[in-house]
Structures are given as structure tokens and as C-alpha cells.
Amino acid sequence: MADNEATTAAPVEPGSSGPAGAAGDSSVKRLPFRARRRWSLLTRRDKITLALIVGIPLFLDVALIWGSLVVDFLWSLTDWRGVGDLTGGGLGHRAIGLQNYTQLFDGTYPFFWSAVLHNLFWLAFLMFVATPIGILLAVILDGQIKGMAIYRTVFYLPVVLSLALIGIIWQLQYAPDWNRGFINGTLHVIGYDLPLVKDLPLVGQWFRDVSTTDWVGGPLAIIPTVIAATWRHVGYICILYLAGLKSFDPALREAAAIDGANARQTFFRVVFPVMRPINIVIIVITTIEALRAFDLAYITNGGRSPLELLSTLITNNAISESDRIGFGSAIALILAVVSLVPIVGFLIMTMREEKQ
């Protein structure tokens, strides 16, 4: 029994889908020999060409992208304001140790923790609301659905729009006053002062007065803003998950159906576990999207309170509104270090797949 299951499960294990995966496996085994042989076929000129092809972009990538993190770190230990160079010293900057970091962490600069909170909320909302909706839509669209092309186009369309543009489109929905915003207009039609809703803690304030409700202006502005982001994220996840479902071995689903599993059981006990690689990709992408969030907040109010995010604090402190480069670098480095967690997780997964 157990053997039986193992053999049916094996061919559809992560990554290897059907014939392509099988071909890959056989060539992997022979790789060292073949690769060495191919290497010996190369002329000296070929080898130099290859070295340059990889070497130049790699040098630029390491120096400019990874080097930036080193520079961030060095600057974060100073109070440099952009005058004078870093190595020269004296001219407008001095090393102040970890002072920038203590200022961030001990609450002297209050926007840091509220930005962290906003980023966390952004992440939680995308992860637990937007992503599951995207997965659900992908599962539905994977079945035989009439008018599939229409649904798919509609859900995918926001994915091709920039988040800045999405911010503007959603401003039209959130605008204050009964005659302007779509949501305030709707509430005007169905009636404000909804007895139960207006007494809700926190969010009740949105439902009290039609003329003053500014959805993206109040202290809870982050919620409507992340809903706008959801409009796009759902389609994104739907695309990724649907691609994964298409490569899912139908025999597994048939087996589950024969065993009498219903749709929900089939999904949670068979499909979802087998889709592990895709699930990890989706978690990584969602986390990175949440850490990168910038455009929506910036287009709405310049990324200032109540929509401050780690990303907007960096630019507002060090570029657009002030020149506190040392301080901005400290935030940038924190953002980079936090981002490296999902990135490294993703790389480890890819590497494991590579070895298989």
C-alpha cells in the first residue's frame, strides 16, 4: 500500500513535470563528464569571450547592487548630509557610531515604528486576504469554466498597470464628498449612518459623515491603500498559481477522485502539498511586494504620515525632503536586511531543486 502510494507520488514531486523533468534528470547524472568535454572543446578565444560575457555584468551587478548595501552600511554610521566626501572626513559629516540606529529603535523618530507597522499590515493583508483570493480564483479558473478568457483577462488586467496608476484609479473611488468618490457616492445612495456599521471600533468613522470621509486621508488610510494593492496582487497570484496548476499531474487528481475525495479535500490534501515549490514562490513574492511597497503611498500623499512605509522614509529623509543621508542609509540597510530573509529562503529552495 505504502509502496503503491510512493510510486504514484514520485513522478510529480516538486519541479519535475513529466517528460521534461525526466530528461533533465538523466542529463544531470552525466553532466560532469559532458560539461568537461564541452569545456575542452573551447578555444582560448572562446574561454575569454565567455569570461567577459559573465564577468562584466557580474562585476557591475556585485559592485553596484551588492556594493550599495556596503555603502549603505558605512553611511549609516555617519551623519553625512551630502556635502563633502565620505573618506575625506570633516566636511559636513562625522562618524556617529550606531546613533542613527538607536534613534530609530528607541522611538526618538516616531515614524520608524509606525512605518514598520504599516509594512507588516501590508504584508499580512496581502498574505492572508489577497493571496488566498488569488489562489481560489486560480483553482476555479483551472476547472472547465465557460467564458474563461473573459474572467482571466479581467483579473489579469490590473497586473499590467503600474501601482502609481492604480493609486490614481483608486483615488477616483476614494475621493471625499458624495458627488465625487465612488464609495462615498455608493454610501450616499444606500444611506450613511448605517446603524451597526458606524458604531464599529476604528472603521466606524468612515461611515458617519458623507462630506468629510476622506478614505485615504484619515489615520487608517493604510487599509484603503492596501485594498488598492490587493486589486493588483490577486491577479498576480492567480497567474502564478494557475501556471502551477497547469503543470499539476491530472492522474493525481483522478486518484483522489476515485478515492472519494471531494473538491476541498482534493485541494488541501493533494494539490496544495504537491504545489509546495509554487507556494514558496508565492510567499516570497508576496513578502517582497510588501517590503517594496512605495508607489501607491507616494502617489497618494508623498509617502508621509499616515501612509509612511520604510521605503518612503528612506527617500523622504535622504532625497526628496531632506538630505539626512546617514539616517536614510540606516533605514535602507534595515530594509535590505529584512528583505534578505525571504530572498535567501527562495535561493535555498532553488538550490535544492537544482541539486535534485
Binding site: 500500500m1 560575457i53 480564483l137 474572467y151 498597470l161 501601482l163 502609481a164 484609479i169 543621508i325
Partner: protein, 348 residues
Amino acid sequence: MSTDGRDVGNGAPDAAGQAAPRVAATDELIERADAAAKARDAASAKARDAARTTRMAPRRRIKARRIGLYIFLITITFVWLVPFFVAVYEALRTNADVNANGIFSIAQGLTLQNFIDVWGQTTPTFPQAYFNTLVVTIPAVIIVLIVGSLVAYAISKYSWRLNLLVLMLFTAGNLLPQQAIILPWFRLFLTPLLHIPEPLSDNGLLYNQYLGIIFIHVMFQLGFVVFVLSNYMKTLGKEVIEAALVDGAGVLRIWGAIVMPLCKPAVAAMAALQFTFIYNDFFWGLLLMSTQDRRPITAALNTINGQYYSNYNALAAAALLAAIPTVLVFLALQRYFVSGLSLGSVKG
């Protein structure tokens, strides 16, 4: 639960098969076997009946569920379309009309006047903004595809000890938030030490230049292109390349004449995707381009948004004008766009 079901299904016929020869020995046992067989038939008939009735019920239930599914899908599709409808409806009405009658009212006539008004009024004007976008996007896409496919080819088709490390460095670099690396880049772009010559830069810097924006897009997108294309190239056969090498073809010729033609689907998908990514860039264009008239359309939205703060109808028209190119590309190349995104995820 599902395993239990299969156990019963597989186990029953086996037991019957083993029992049969031994049973044949005595009449008594034969009779008992007959009885057992009859009982089994009866049981299976009952089971069949039961199955039929349960199958009937689910069929009705399945039908109801399918209707529920469509209602859900249609509702959510409608919700998804509302923001578009609102934008289009606003763009086609005059500001005075909506101010007086509200958004939920029959339009007092639809007009394209808003589009005509914003076309030449924004900073930069729409023709200028589209031009800025094209000047940045087209070279950036071409360069990133060429460089990216070369790197992907070199690391996937030839053995290097550092293959995996190179791939990781590129991929991870692309996944970092842009904001984490903007400050050093900002300073680099401002440094006069680079002495960028005249046709490429009119101030000797990378800052405030098309070249600078192209450069940063290439650097930043390279990781994604290398990741996707190298994964794709790994699935191609290696014999052709060996044969070509034996015939004395150089590595660059093999890239151009053998590998790239084989990678056409992946390269096409990457082209569609990179076009959208770079077209949609807000961040670099906003911070590294100080002259507003040089900003690509997406970065220009920041200014346009401020310009029409009090006129949502004009703002809606401007937003739609900015959206049209990517929407058209998407509708025309949906397949490539989707497969591009999928290539990046399914294989890794």
C-alpha cells in the same frame, strides 16, 4: 481517509480469490461459499443502488454548486471591473456635470473633451511623456535581453564552478527593494567623475539623463532575465552545441545561430514582460530624473496627479491615456505576458 477507501477496494477481491480453491473441498463449504457469494451480490446490488441514489443527489448538488460558482465568479469579476468603469465614466463626463449631479447620475452627454484637454496640458505633455518612455524603454528592453541571454547562455551551457553562485547573485539582486539601494545610486548618478560624453549626457552626469534611467533598468532587470532564461536554456539539448563546437563554431556564433532561435518563446515572453515592467517604473524615473519634461509617463503621473487635484474627470482621462499602451500590449500579447510571469515562478 482516502487511503482507507483504497484499502477496502483492493483488499476484497484478493481475499475472495484466495478463498475460492480451499472452499471447493467440501459441499458444505461450497454451500457456504454460494451463500457468501449471494450475500456479496446482494450487498453489491445494494451498494450499487446506494451509489446510484447518492450519485443522483450529488448531481443536483453539483449543479447547484456550479451555479453558485458562476454567481461568485461573475460577482467578483464585476467588482474587479468597477474601478475601470468608474475611471472611464468619469473621463467621459465634464467636471461640472459630476460636481452638480454626483457620480451616480446619468451623464448629461459624453465627451472626449477631457482627453483633448489633458493631452497637451500636462507636464510633460502626453506626446513628450510617451516619447520619454519609448526612449528609455526600447533600448533598455533590447539591452537587457541581449546581455541577459548572453549571461544565461554562458552559465547554463558551459560548466563553471561558480555557476550557481553567479545565478544567485543576479537573482537576489533583482529581488532587493529598489529603495534599499537608491541612496548610493543617487550619489553615483550625481558624481561628476564619470564625465559622460555629450551625445549621451548633456550635463556629464548620469543624473537627469535618459542614459542613466536606461542603465539602472538594465542593471536591475538583468537578474530576472538571467534567472528565467537560464532555467529555460537548461531544458534545451546539449548535443547540438557540442556538435557545433566540434565543427569549430565560436561561442558567440552558437549563441546567435543556435541558442537564441531555440529560445524564441522565452525571449518573446521576456520582451513582453520587460516592456511592461520598465514602462511601469515609477521609482527610478521619479527620483533620478529631475527635469519634469524628461520623465517617462509613469513617473510623470506624480506631477499629473497634483495638477488635477481638483478635477477628477481630467485626472481619470489622464490615467486612462497613461494606461492605454500597457493595456494594448497586454491584450495583444497576453499569452506571452502570462507565460513570462509563469516561467519565472514554475521552474523556481
